[in-house]
């Protein structure tokens, strides 16, 4: 993988929280532009800690994170935060403005966009997630699935280099789950999807990483990793009842 075209490059990342709890013990991986990668791992594996390193909210341990070749650090923070769009697990945490429009406009406005250009950004972002007609509604009046889509739009409006989704399918009913998958497939950005939802990972991401005990334990084709029973058991990953990854047609790899 050529490092020049890599959207995200993490090397030797280790980190402990100020209260002494250590979450990462040296993480290495890299994601090429346009790839869709799933980051799998049991609870407490350090997934959220890793995500918070990607845009420099956490720092101070060892190792480096590079986004499109740019090292994450104080001097490029604004640029990094524009390039890395994180969709958090709970849309209620992500949506804090009084209307959908203002919420989606928050990121680009913080980056200095104004007037018609800003409106255009907001409109396209909402269209991409199919929420254009909800512009002036307060977010807390929307359904959970709609709120998650707006949360994705708030990040898309910043035109990120890489989209990081934390548990995108949690609490979604099957229909909303499928709608979100369709939206994610239609986007042409690099995606890192952090999830427990193994079928969803298989459906959307050709490649997967397993994060366990603060290090990358496996990196390969999602279908192959999920079919490796020993590997899965070793890292407390369990497929839902009755689901067999070998019986599912592997989605063709689309660049």
């Amino acid at each position: 993988m050529d490092s020049v075209t890599a959207s995200l490059e993490v090397s030797g990342l280790a980190f402990a929280y100020p209260d002494g709890h250590q979450a990462l013990f040296g993480v290495d991986f890299s994601i090429a532009r346009g790839e869709r990668v799933a980051l799998l791992g049991p609870n407490g594996a350090g997934k959220t800690t890793l995500v918070l390193h990607l845009n420099g909210i956490l720092s101070g341990g060892t190792g480096t994170v590079k986004v499109a070749g740019l090292p994450v650090g104080r001097q490029h923070m604004a640029e990094i935060r524009r390039k890395v769009g994180i969709v958090f697990q709970d849309p209620d945490d992500q949506l804090f403005m009084p209307t959908v429009r203002e919420d989606v406009a928050f990121g680009p406005a913080a980056a200095g966009l104004k007037g018609p250009e800003l409106e255009e950004r907001v409109r396209t972002a909402l269209e991409r997630v199919g929420m254009a007609e909800f512009t002036d509604r307060p977010p807390h009046h929307l359904s959970f699935g709609q709120r998650r889509r707006v949360a994705v739009a708030t990040v898309l409006a910043m035109e990120p280099e890489i989209l990081v989704l934390d548990e995108p399918s949690s609490n979604l009913d099957p229909a909303s789950r499928r709608e979100l998958a369709d939206i994610l497939r239609s986007l042409d950005v690099t995606v890192l999807m952090v999830t427990h939802d193994l079928p969803y990972a298989l459906e959307l991401c050709p490649r997967a990483l397993i994060l366990s005990d603060g290090t990358i334990a496996a990196d390969g084709k999602t279908a192959e990793l999920l079919a490796d029973d020993e590997l899965m058991r070793g890292h407390r990953l369990e497929l839902p009842f009755g689901f067999d990854p070998r019986s599912v047609p592997v989605p063709e790899v689309r660049p």
Binding site: G12, A14, F15, A16, Y17, P18, D19, G20, Q22, F25, G26, I57, G60, G61, T62
Partner: protein, 351 residues
């Protein structure tokens, strides 16, 4: 203890306004070091907490009203500078939104409830933490005592302000007795809530308690299965800050001296309106004899203070005095903190 409009005379209101502005300015500079991205919302939460706590008002006989103050909690959780800012924000928003505390009395209220409580509480807290053995229990005990003392201290400060600038000549003895008496009781409640909150936070998220930063262990990272020390490079950013802090402190002192001096000049050149009218109408029969007496201080009874010149002069003295105390307290605290930072790695090995 929120002072309404028209309660304290104009010179004192302006003087305390100057003190408040200086204190907030100094705190704004200092807070940049205390606050980082992850603790900024903590400051907001502390402010919200204090807001809620201050809504519980008990009427006090000859004072205005009494309630929990929250300055100690703020100083211990987010640090003294940010603590001053938090309480000031609370007072500002209470004035605007709830009309609790007059807008023109904002200076009085900030000086009394934000600066005095925070500085007293933090000084006591730091002193105790230094004496007591290191540990979570000491943090909780120190918070209790700091909060307990900070409330009567604010009551005293209020009494002092009232003595110099009150628009009604209620006997200072009565005010002091009522204010301090009631506020010792309130101090006990404040101490309990502060200690419980700080104790709970220290137990679960010690990284959130500013006053407990000395407790943190030196970090170890395990890279490739082996224990490796964190490189020593990053935490020490002190030297540059030290110089700028001293500068800020001196600048703050000079500014408040100038402002206070200006105010006292203004006050003595133009006797306060209310007093002028009062004396024209012969309502207050004040004596001027002390000006020529051998020992002026001996004559400074309570009621004499509505002499415009004296009250103006005292306003200046008080303003500068409070600023010096506040500035020194904060400065001392900063130095203490730096001291513990330097010492802590060595000490942790013995823990």
């Amino acid at each position: 203890m929120h002072v309404p409009d028209g309660f304290i005379n104009a010179p004192i209101s302006v003087a305390t306004g100057a003190v408040a502005v200086a204190a907030v300015a100094v705190s704004l500079r200092g807070a940049r070091r205390e606050l980082d991205e992850r603790t900024a919302p903590l400051a907001g939460l502390v402010a919200a907490f204090i807001f809620a706590v201050q809504m519980l008002n008990f009427p006090v006989a000859a004072g205005t009203s009494g309630h929990l103050l929250g300055g100690a909690l703020a100083a211990i959780l987010v640090g003294p500078y940010t603590g001053v800012l938090c309480v000031s924000v609370v007072l500002l928003m209470q004035g605007i939104l709830f009309a609790d505390g007059g807008l023109t009395a904002l200076g009085v209220n900030i000086t009394d409830m934000a600066v005095v409580t925070t500085v007293v509480a933090y000084a006591v807290f730091r002193g105790l933490v230094r004496i007591l053995p290191r540990g979570r229990r000491s943090i909780t005990v120190s918070s209790f005592v700091a909060a307990l003392l900070s409330v009567p201290a604010a009551a005293l400060a209020f009494t002092l302000l009232y003595w110099i600038g009150g628009t009604t000549d209620v006997s200072i003895g009565k005010v002091a007795t009522a204010m301090v008496g009631v506020h010792i009781l309130i101090g006990i409640g404040e101490a309990a809530i502060t200690a419980l909150t700080v104790g709970a936070v220290v137990a679960v998220r010690p990284d959130l308690v500013y006053g407990a930063r000395g407790l943190q262990q030196k970090l170890k990272l395990r890279v490739n299965g082996e224990l490796v020390d964190v490189p020593d490079a990053q935490p020490v950013t002190a030297p540059a800050a030290a110089r700028s802090h001293r500068k800020v402190w001196v600048a703050g002192l000079v500014t408040s001296l100038l402002l206070a001096g200006f105010v006292s000049f203004y006050a003595s050149a133009n006797p306060d309106g209310l007093e002028k009218v009062a004396s024209d109408k012969g309502i207050d029969a004040r004596t001027e004899e002390h000006a020529t007496a051998d020992s002026p201080l001996a004559d400074y009874g309570v009621k004499d203070v509505d002499d415009a010149r004296l009250s103006g002069g005292l306003a200046g003295v008080l303003g500068v005095g409070v600023t010096v105390v506040a500035g020194t307290g904060v400065f001392w605290a900063v130095r203490r903190r730096r001291g513990t930072e330097d010492v802590s790695p060595a000490r942790t090995s013995s823990v």
